[in-house]
Symmetry: C2
Subunit: 404 residues, 2 copies
């Protein structure tokens, strides 16, 4: 008998019929003699509807109130799922984040899990119950309800799997697993049967939407195997774990892409200590996430500083940067909102030369200009014209022979 | 500075605009220098929609799960109301039943409040917050969420007013107050500016829908003045309290009516000890509420036993009673589902003869046949043909000169 944690996303529980289908899948796992803990997201677009309602009433809803409001979405789906299992003759109980012992800090809308007290879950499992836990939420020491922000329900699932010592954390979603590239762009993309945490982390961070990097990171930290699979089919999915062979023959494992890239360049910056801080500290205070930062080699102590942000944050970032650029004596401040990025990822790239050259060559062959380049040990990312991203993904998929 | 508890029902917070209007009313109370605690019901028909969703999934939803599901309705309305107040520049915080310290027993769907720990509410009031509490819900010792059943939000409000030592508990609803009769039936019905707890309790129990008897009872027990008024106007409403003069000149205070009456008669029952118990114990076990019970004087040790139930419970009650009637040797078992009741209520009736005669006379004058009669010290109730109830209410309103 194993303990299995399963997570079902919002599209998997979008209506009464889909909830019943999910209940059947859970029942199959239970029938095999497993103890089952299930984490669910809110039904379909419930969260968006609640947010819309809040904004009708207050243009800047208080984050504590918004979290308490949004937490109802997951309570609704988990009680309905428990009822669906009971209708099939199974014993089930729903638990809110608070009841499930998920304690977080008090940073509303993006709370971090501080600890999980699994006492209640364990007690319910011991009674023979299937335990359904509301994802995406927790409770502070003062009994205030928090939400975990993006990737929250995946994070709930991995955190529970960790604290319960589960055999595996199964993330059921509306895709079949992790692919070598987005199958909507590259029809011949291959599903990976397994992938290492680090590679998955880079894929997720650099654009693969299948799982949020935060949950992958937690899985890696506590070495919890994570299966990503479809909630609509019985196909095997992709297992994310730590035991993947390093020396796989084809050393690029996947192509990630992201269309949400805008660039700001501060031109003609005097190159002296503290200049970068004077630009990036105010951006951080304005809660703007900076992605890539590139500084050119300085000529006559004058340099250009380029960085990227999400497109939705470009206007706000320009408002912050323009007066700073002026005050530090920069020549000008330009921006480009029509960018995307494409990345090749694989642990096999470590200490092996030639990948970058092959990537740049494939892009050059298609006449794609590279605006910026960034790398990690297991990833190379090029920022390019957003209109060229799909073509680049296809070209790279072919160049690294990922079609299988 | 006084502490005031206000309660707003579902129709008062049915949409974003109505929530904003309620926020304005609360703000006025706060502006007068009061501390304000507000209890809200779920928006409009949210509760019905959640119940419908549950029944789509499970024909007999588990009561614990249903309570947890339904509790989200009040969380949604109270967070939105807090946001509306914040949008107007007021400090507000929403609290779930659990956060507000409302502890109940574990009888799901009709839990009873066991205690209120007002620590968190008091702390938030001391910070200057308007405190918005989710009505209709509480939490058990095991942190399970319960709902309080019918009249739940009114009960939450009165319980909070009691435990906080509030000056008054104001129940805002979609009617203007307590009337001498239902104004939809008797256009000249008068709004009562005040009424005693006992009279209100009888009015509520015998059909006046303005407030649930349970909350009135709690108010009487702890002597909390309760104001019932409209949330849509600034008219003064009706104050329910203990200090109403007993010797009011017109001693009938109001006419209550109820169209939900069905009658079962067990005919030809041998009149021996234990017969009543043998009928009513199985009905209680089947969770059927019995209202009026009348037993005729026995002739030759044979009697008729008549009792009334809600119309929706008639079929179930007949299923229970028929085999019992047979086993105890009764002649037959008949029923009538088309009944209603009409009551005259007033503490002034105590020890004063002539009210019954005047009531029966007024009904007789209209040719209305009386099926059953029951009385309390301050009430006389006649069960009559449901088709005659409206006419009876009008006639009694005139006969007791309630038109003012």
């Amino acid at each position: 008998m194993a303990l299995i944690v399963q997570k079902y996303g919002g599209s998997s529980v979008a209506d009464a019929e889909k909830i019943k289908n999910v209940a059947k899948r859970i029942a199959q796992t239970k029938d095999k003699g497993n103890q089952v803990v299930v984490v669910v997201s809110a039904m379909g677009n419930t969260t968006d509807e609640l947010i819309k309602l809040a904004y009708q009433i207050n243009e800047r809803p208080d984050e504590r109130e918004l979290d308490m409001l949004l937490s109802t979405g997951e309570i609704i789906s988990c009680t309905l799922l428990a009822m669906a299992l009971e209708a099939m003759g199974y014993e089930a109980i729903s638990l809110s984040g608070a009841q499930a012992g998920i304690r977080t800090d008090a940073v509303y809308s993006r709370a971090r899990i501080q600890s999980v007290d699994p006492e209640r879950i364990t007690r319910e499992l011991d009674k023979g119950n299937i335990v359904i836990v509301a994802g995406f939420q927790g409770i502070t020491d003062d009994m205030d309800i928090t939400t975990l922000g993006r990737g929250g329900s995946d994070t709930t699932a991995v955190a529970l799997a960790t604290s319960l010592g589960a055999e595996v954390c199964q993330i059921y979603t509306d895709v079949e697993g992790v692919f070598t590239a987005d199958p909507r762009i590259v029809p011949e993309a291959q599903k990976l049967s397994e992938i290492g945490y680090e590679e998955m982390l880079e894929l997720a961070t650099y654009g693969a939407k299948v799982m949020h990097p935060r949950a992958v990171e937690l899985g890696e930290l506590f070495n919890v195997p994570i299966l990503v699979a479809s909630s609509f089919t019985d196909n095997p999915g992709t297992l994310i774990h730590g035991g993947v062979a390093m020396e796989v023959r084809n050393k690029v494992r996947g192509i990630a892409h992201d269309l949400d890239v805008a660039k700001i360049t501060v031109v003609g910056v005097p190159d002296r200590p503290g200049i970068a801080a004077s630009i990036f500290e105010p951006l951080a205070k304005a809660n703007i996430s900076i992605d890539t930062i590139v500084q050119n080699a300085s000529i006559n102590n004058i340099t250009d500083l380029t960085f990227t942000v999400a497109k939705s944050q470009l206007a706000k970032a320009m408002d912050v940067v323009k007066p700073i650029a002026k005050s530090i004596g920069a020549r000008e401040c330009s921006s480009d909102a029509k960018l995307g990025k494409v990345s090749i990822i694989g642990t096999g790239m470590q200490n092996t030369p030639g990948y970058a050259a092959r990537m740049f060559g494939a892009l050059k062959e298609k006449g794609i200009n590279i605006e910026l380049i960034t790398t990690s040990e297991i990833r190379i990312t090029c920022i390019i014209d957003e209109a060229k991203v799909k073509e680049a993904v296809k070209a790279l998929h072919r160049a690294f022979e990922l079609e299988g």
